[in-house]
């Protein structure tokens, strides 16, 4: 479980996150939704420690990140898996080397064990046999899948995904979403997914947090979203014709 308590963050006096308090449960896919520029990426980067919040606490399974020493921080980070918006694969390394990277850096596994683990992860994301390709030879969806394989190679407890299906066609996007939710259950991780894609919300939104102007505006499940009376959330959700149709069908 990850708990945020009164997180504030501003850039050059411009407030981006304003007193965010929320908890994300284990074994679930938690969605953070909001418009482009609403602060989703900044929030995620604060949670993982790539950005430092101006104030507030972040607790991982009850342990406060800001009170950890260097070693403890390092240890908790090794339990993180993160999926970046552009996949962020290492260009100069092959698919296999990308997935193996953390094992090379932090474990004393033999090359046989590493190979097995890498193949297991690649198989899990349906990319068996692509070991020798380089990132520049992969499609967008394949890159995302390699990034997922890389994220889960050391059995993370926490998985963070920033717009995992941006730039993908709807079918590939759904496949990535499904993969994330399946893996979350399989490994009992605490997963946080940033998205502005309503398909994802409907597909995997077990716990949805809506942020708007740096504040938490609404929280609930995907079923509750369609019933919402919250005007800002309505504007966001019912911006597309498709969802408006969906609501009509629902009302009948």
């Amino acid at each position: 479980m990850i708990e945020l308590r009164h997180i504030n963050k501003s850039f050059e006096g411009q407030s981006v996150l304003d007193d965010i308090s929320v908890s994300f449960e284990q074994g679930r896919t938690n969605l953070v939704i909001g418009r482009s520029g609403s602060g989703k990426t900044v929030l995620l980067k604060c949670i993982v420690g790539l950005l430092e919040a101006d104030s507030g606490d972040i607790l991982y399974s009850g342990d406060c990140f800001s009170r950890m020493n260097r070693k403890e921080k390092q240890n908790i980070r090794q339990r993180f898996g993160m999926l970046f918006q552009g996949a962020a694969l290492f260009d100069s390394l092959s698919v296999e080397e990308n997935v193996r990277f953390k094992l090379d850096m932090f474990t004393r596994m033999t090359s046989r064990e590493k190979k097995d683990r890498v193949n297991f992860c690649l198989e899990r994301v349906n990319l068996s046999g692509k070991n020798r390709l380089f990132p520049s030879e992969l499609s967008g969806g394949m890159k995302k899948r390699v990034a997922i394989a890389r994220a889960i190679v050391m059995n993370p407890r926490y998985l963070f995904c920033d717009e995992p299906n941006s730039g993908l066609d709807p079918q590939t996007a759904i496949m990535i979403d499904k993969l994330i939710i399946d893996i979350t259950r399989e490994f009992n991780m605490t997963t946080i997914v940033n998205t502005h894609d309503l398909n994802s919300v409907m597909e995997i939104g077990e716990n949805v947090v809506y942020i708007h102007e740096g504040k938490i505006w609404w929280q609930g499940t995907r079923e509750e979203i369609l019933e919402t009376e919250n005007p800002e959330l309505s504007d966001f959700v019912f911006a597309t014709k498709l969802v408006r149709q969906l609501k009509k069908l629902d009302d009948i």
């Binding site: 790539l50 980070r77 918006q85 552009g86 962020a88 290492f90």
Partner: protein, 246 residues
């Protein structure tokens, strides 16, 4: 940002990159690769530039000293000393600043804007040490060899050009390059090349590491890396010359 802020941030980055590797094996592999990319791949350009440099120095010296009072072997001597003292370290460093500096800044800059550096940090890897340390060490190891290569090729270039144009005879040239030879000049030159290697890799890495934005900014960082490395090299050339030859 002011110059002082840049220097502060640079110092912190370099300090962070000079820390103990998480996995010595991985660093060793990267070191070998960087020695190849930064060093071995630069031998061609260093050799070409040095050849023509040696040639031009010899011919110019000859034409500027056309006097019966001036013994012909002094052409070889003058060419040798300019090559050893200045050209093989400083000019080669400036060339490397252009080639290696832009290469480093654009590589690290691209990794920054595509979030690859964030990906390293998330994994708990010290990204500064992982990316920068192997480059610093690699170029510092290779630079003296490039320097020696440059000296040799430069002197051969001078000989070929001098004899071809007919301004100096082979015996005179060879006598000249051996005459009043001071071995310390080579030490001096090699020390300079190591310092310059450190400057090129660290300044360029700094510009790459703190790139913010997209492809356009990566290009800008790359340009700044070359310009700033070159200026710092010239500054340190002055300081080192004063310290070591005075």
């Amino acid at each position: 940002m002011t110059l002082l802020q840049h220097i502060g941030r640079y110092t912190i980055l370099i300090k962070r990159s000079l820390s103990r590797p998480e996995s010595p094996r991985v660093y060793y592999r990267r070191l070998i690769r960087e020695m190849e990319v930064l060093g071995i791949n630069s031998t061609g350009i260093v050799a070409i530039i040095s050849f023509f440099m040696g040639a031009v120095i010899t011919i110019q010296t000859a034409y500027n000293t056309e006097s019966p009072l001036f013994p012909a072997y002094l052409i070889g001597l003058a060419a040798r000393d300019s090559i050893l003292l200045e050209f093989s370290s400083t000019i080669v460093a400036l060339i490397l600043a252009g080639k290696v500096g832009s290469n480093i800044a654009s590589e690290i800059g691209t990794m920054r804007v595509t979030e690859q550096i964030d990906a390293l940090e998330i994994m708990g890897v010290n990204s500064a040490a992982y990316l920068i340390l192997p480059k610093i060490v690699a170029l510092m190891i290779i630079a003296p060899f490039l320097s020696v290569l440059s000296m040799a090729v430069g002197i051969v270039g001078g000989w070929i050009a001098g004899t071809t144009v007919g301004v100096v005879s082979t015996p005179d040239y060879i006598y000249g390059i051996q005459y009043a030879f001071i071995p310390y000049y080579i030490t001096y030159s090699l020390i300079k090349s190591v310092v310059f290697a450190f400057i090129i890799t660290t300044v360029s890495s700094y510009h790459g590491y703190y790139t913010r934005g997209g492809a356009l900014e990566v290009g800008r960082s790359s340009t700044l890396a070359v310009v700033h490395s070159s200026v710092v090299i010239l500054l340190f050339n002055l300081i080192l010359t004063q310290l070591m030859l005075a």
